[in-house]
């Protein structure tokens, strides 16, 4: 038996869906400054690797991650590299379509909202005319911003299920 969700839980899900879809829209629009502004200055942005194929690594201090940033600086660096025109892997950026589904969310005691979702991101390299799709599971923690009129991403963790990488991986392809 599954209990009927409370109005409060449904409200958390609506909020999380709105925030997640907005973030992914910014990525697809390549609206980098707007995208960056969605993140808390001390965001933990984390894409773990897999441990012998069986489970994702769960301690970024003692295990390898595919991407690990412990502040927004790490994301800003990646954005700057992407648009620098000086990175052969990033020039020109690929076209993307990000999808998120199965969003569920709950309020936490500290006032944050934790959400889980599945993601699927299609990328198209229009120069080489080839495409690839990454998919996996994501987990977000949203916190109210300082002025209380909006939300920031405090944690974003994405477990990539197809981790045999075709040459490279970057934040905007997940």
């Amino acid at each position: 038996m599954t209990q009927a969700p409370s109005q409060r839980t449904l409200a958390a899900r609506d909020l999380a869906e709105h925030l997640i879809h907005g973030e992914l829209r910014d990525l697809d629009a390549q609206d980098w400054e707007v995208w960056l502004a969605r993140f808390h200055a001390e965001v933990e942005y984390w894409v773990p690797a897999w441990r012998q194929g069986l489970a994702p690594t769960n301690d970024p201090g003692s295990e390898i991650s595919l991407i690990y940033c412990d502040s927004r600086h790490g994301l800003e660096e990646r954005v700057r590299r992407l648009i620098s025109q000086r990175s052969p892997a990033s020039t020109p950026p690929r076209r993307t379509a990000h999808l998120a589904g199965n969003v569920l969310a709950e309020w936490q005691d500290d006032g944050s909202v934790v959400a889980t979702a599945v993601f699927q991101t299609f990328q198209y390299d229009w120069v080489e005319r080839r495409e690839h799709g990454f998919f996996g599971q994501s987990r977000y923690r949203f916190v109210p911003n300082g002025t209380g009129d909006g939300w920031l991403i405090r944690q974003k963790r994405q477990v990539l299920l197809n981790d045999a990488l075709p040459g490279m991986l970057d934040f905007y392809l997940l």
């Binding site: 194929g53 660096e77 892997a89 040459g167 490279m168």
Partner: protein, 478 residues
């Protein structure tokens, strides 16, 4: 099938007159690729894994050697053995996972059972099988690989028996392996976390890149730019910044530093450089203790930038952190790279964390540098397919700086390279690739000479490289 006379023209080795080149089709020819798998990857020593990946009895690793699946299993007796990972009955691969612990390996098809030492324990319903005595007379055990060698936990396999002993094959590269292994009194360990990627390019592009200093400033300017921004941010923040620093942060000092290469027998090459930013290294945090344990000379060499290529498929790359790469050619234009972060056993938690961040930053295919390498390999594969141009011009830097045998740096470490080069950063030697291609050519069976490719071709082998070239192509000048 490629005829030997054609194969002989893949390299143009006239070093005595200042010339060395590789034919562009070496990166593309499917028949040549099949020969590489057969005569290099399946007939000579290749790296397969670390003993520390299978520490306990019955632990196993399942790997590919060329196109052959190989099971590395630690038996009940503690000994590591290598087997062709294929049931004797219908040939099914026995391992369903890359790594694990199995006292017995049971074939999922008809249930034949093997122990962790490769012995066939059971043939299902054997007594009812109406087998002829001829079957009973056959050996049903797993087929062991021809050679398995272990140098201080680095495991190598050869599928052919007629290879030199592993110690001879590795030669002086063992000293370079020691510089990594001895960074802790308890040796090295693999930091957990699988990272593997493929690129649409020939495997030799990755072999070369590990020794290619020339590309750094032109392929990675976006990374250098990020490092500059970090430095600025750190200065503005008054030193409180926690982002990882890099040995490449101070490019001016890098440019002033001494660099060099050693070429060894059997196609191995070590590239080294003084490290003006050595203080950034996790290893430098307890330098006094290190000096006390290994001596000043060795400690200094441990802090140098060192890239080691053990031909054909192992790369041990150390600048800020230490990476092990294993290459696997899949097609002439497709290569798999498996990457491992190696770290000294017993490292403290804060140092380990810093090491991991540096590693991810620089080496990961999801980091800030490696994706650009991969992108340029793919450009090379694409561009060099142009059949109108026969030869690369990429093996000429350093020709007038190279010398036969060792130099002061080699003497300091007690090494006996067949060739060595020293210079400043901007020299970016390319002669270190010559030894690799000479060995590549030798293993492909292009020369009658059985001596491992070593010295610079001043003495032509029995076939005479230059004569052979002239016979088969007329004028080989690109």
């Amino acid at each position: 099938m490629i005829s030997p006379s054609v194969l002989d023209t893949y390299i143009d080795d006239r070093i005595e007159s200042g010339h060395f080149s590789v034919r562009r089709s070496a990166m593309h020819d499917p028949a040549l690729f099949n020969l590489e798998i057969e005569r290099i990857f399946e007939s000579h020593w290749v790296f397969v894994g670390l003993a520390s990946q299978i520490p306990a009895p019955h632990d196993y690793l399942s790997v590919m050697v060329g196109s052959t699946p190989v099971l590395l299993s630690r038996g009940a007796d503690g000994q590591i053995r290598g087997f062709i990972d294929s049931c004797r009955h219908r040939g099914a691969r026995l391992t369903g996972q890359p790594q694990g612990n199995r006292r017995t390996h049971v074939c999922p098809y008809h249930g034949w059972v093997y122990d962790s030492q490769g012995r066939c324990l059971d043939i299902k319903d054997r007594q009812h099988g109406a087998y002829a005595t001829a079957f009973d007379a056959e050996d049903h055990n797993l087929v062991e690989v021809a050679r398995l060698g272990d140098y201080r936990g680095f495991l190598f396999v050869s599928l052919a028996a007629d290879v030199p002993p592993l110690e001879e094959f590795l030669g002086d590269t063992r000293d370079f392996l020691d510089l990594a292994i001895d960074q802790s009194p308890d040796g090295l360990e693999c930091v957990p976390g699988d990272v593997s990627y493929t690129y649409r390019g020939n495997w030799k592009l990755q072999v070369e890149n590990a020794l290619d200093l020339y590309h750094f400033t032109s392929t990675h300017p976006s990374y250098i730019q990020v490092l500059g921004q970090r430095k600025q941010r750190r200065q503005e923040a008054g030193g409180g910044e926690q982002r990882p620093s890099s040995i490449y942060e101070n490019m001016a000092a890098q440019r002033a530093a001494q660099r060099g290469t050693f070429s060894f027998r059997y196609g191995h090459v070590a590239y080294w450089g003084d490290n003006p930013n050595a203080a950034e290294r996790p290893l430098a945090r307890d330098y006094d203790a290190l000096v006390k344990r290994v001596g000043a000379e060795k400690a200094e060499w441990m802090l140098k930038v060192r890239n080691l290529v053990i031909f054909p498929n192992l790369q041990l790359v150390e600048n800020a952190s230490l990476q092990l790469r294993v290459l696997r050619p899949l097609r002439p234009d497709l290569t798999e790279v498996r990457a491992y972060c190696l770290a000294p056993v017993g490292e403290d938690a804060a140092t380990r964390r810093a090491r991991i961040r540096q590693y991810e930053d620089f080496y990961n295919p999801s980091g800030l540098a490696t994706p650009d390498d991969v992108a340029v390999y793919e450009r090379c594969q694409h561009g060099s397919a142009a059949r109108q141009i026969e030869w690369f011009q990429g093996y000429a830097r350093g020709i007038t700086a190279r010398r036969e045998g060792g130099n002061d740096a080699a003497s300091a470490l007690g090494l006996h390279p067949v060739e060595s080069v020293t210079g400043d950063y901007a020299l970016a030697d390319e002669t270190c690739f010559h030894t690799i291609y000479r060995e590549w050519q030798r293993l492909l069976g292009l020369q009658q000479n059985d001596e491992p490719a070593a010295c610079g071709g001043l003495e032509p082998g029995p076939l005479g490289r230059t004569t052979q070239l002239a016979q088969s192509t007329g004028e080989p000048t690109p």
